[in-house]
């Protein structure tokens, strides 16, 4: 298949992410986003990052996006009733985005030719390898990220809980 798989998936990623931001109905956006994330999963597989592919599939597509969808439905926002920003704002936004991408890529000097990506260690992205890494050098941040999640948990409960007034 050659490298064309990558370019196909890349094209799909870009296409669906564009659909995410241009879909009028937020629910459609979420659905496009899920598709986009799926293309990302494919990218991870292409990069042999199997652990990430799985996590991405489960956490992002399975949990996070469902949460989005859930909230949208809960708040009854499934109609495309979003008051659109004026055309000018859109144009300005898009122009700004184009400038950003140009300057970003330009400043990265990414237009120059570069080495092709070579997978030197096929085990790199496997669970075992990453597990060693995670519980080795990165144990501290791994443990501390629990605080982050705990914070989020406390916060979510705190904010959405109805107070007895």
């Amino acid at each position: 298949m050659g490298t064309s798989v990558f370019y196909l998936v890349a094209f799909l990623s870009i296409f669906f992410s564009l659909m995410v931001i241009f879909a009028k109905n937020p629910v459609h956006s979420v659905l496009y986003l899920i598709v986009t994330f799926f293309t990302f999963t494919v990218h991870y597989i292409l990069l042999n990052a199997q652990f990430l592919a799985v996590v991405n599939f489960i956490v992002y597509m399975g949990a996070i996006m469902v949460l989005f969808l859930f909230v949208l439905m809960l708040l009854n926002l499934n109609k495309d009733n979003e008051p659109l920003k004026s055309g000018l704002v859109k144009v300005v936004g898009i122009v700004a985005g184009c400038c950003l991408v140009v300057t970003l890529i330009g400043s990265l000097k990414a237009t120059a030719a570069s080495d092709p990506l070579v997978l030197q260690n096929v085990n790199l992205g496997l669970v075992k390898n990453l597990g060693k890494e995670l519980f080795g050098p990165f144990m501290l941040p791994f443990e501390l990220s629990s605080i982050l999640l705990l914070t989020a948990m406390v916060g979510a409960v705190l904010l959405t809980k109805k107070e007895k007034v």
């Binding site: 949208l72 990506l117 890494e133």
Partner: protein, 109 residues
């Protein structure tokens, strides 16, 4: 699987950068052009994923697993952020019956 990764070997690193930068920018454009807080938030998720992809690519490029570990942390953050962010949006919606960010303009000047 092996085949796929073998095929990949021809893709220059730059193209990953291009891809990430473009998707990142699409996320930025989404933030800039949309008014629905949830959609904006989704655009931010798009930006984060672009970063994730790039990290993975770099990780592969430099044959270093720590990049992928970092992606894992970003995902943890994303989860936490989503939990908090959506609850904030829900809370705001309760008060304003809207998720339009333009409603939020009482604090200014």
């Amino acid at each position: 699987m092996g085949n796929i990764t073998q095929d990949l070997q021809g893709v220059p690193l730059n193209h990953y950068i291009w891809l990430s930068a473009i998707i990142f920018t699409i996320g930025v454009i989404g933030v800039l052009t949309r008014r629905n807080a949830i959609v904006i938030f989704m655009s931010v998720e798009l930006m984060l994923n672009a970063v994730n992809l790039l990290l993975t690519a770099f990780s592969v490029h430099s044959n270093d697993p720590s990049g992928q570990v970092f992606v894992f942390f970003i995902m943890a953050l994303a989860a936490a952020e989503v939990a908090v962010g959506l609850s904030i949006i829900v809370m705001v919606y309760r008060n304003t019956q809207s998720t339009d960010i333009n409603v939020l303009n009482r604090l200014k000047w």
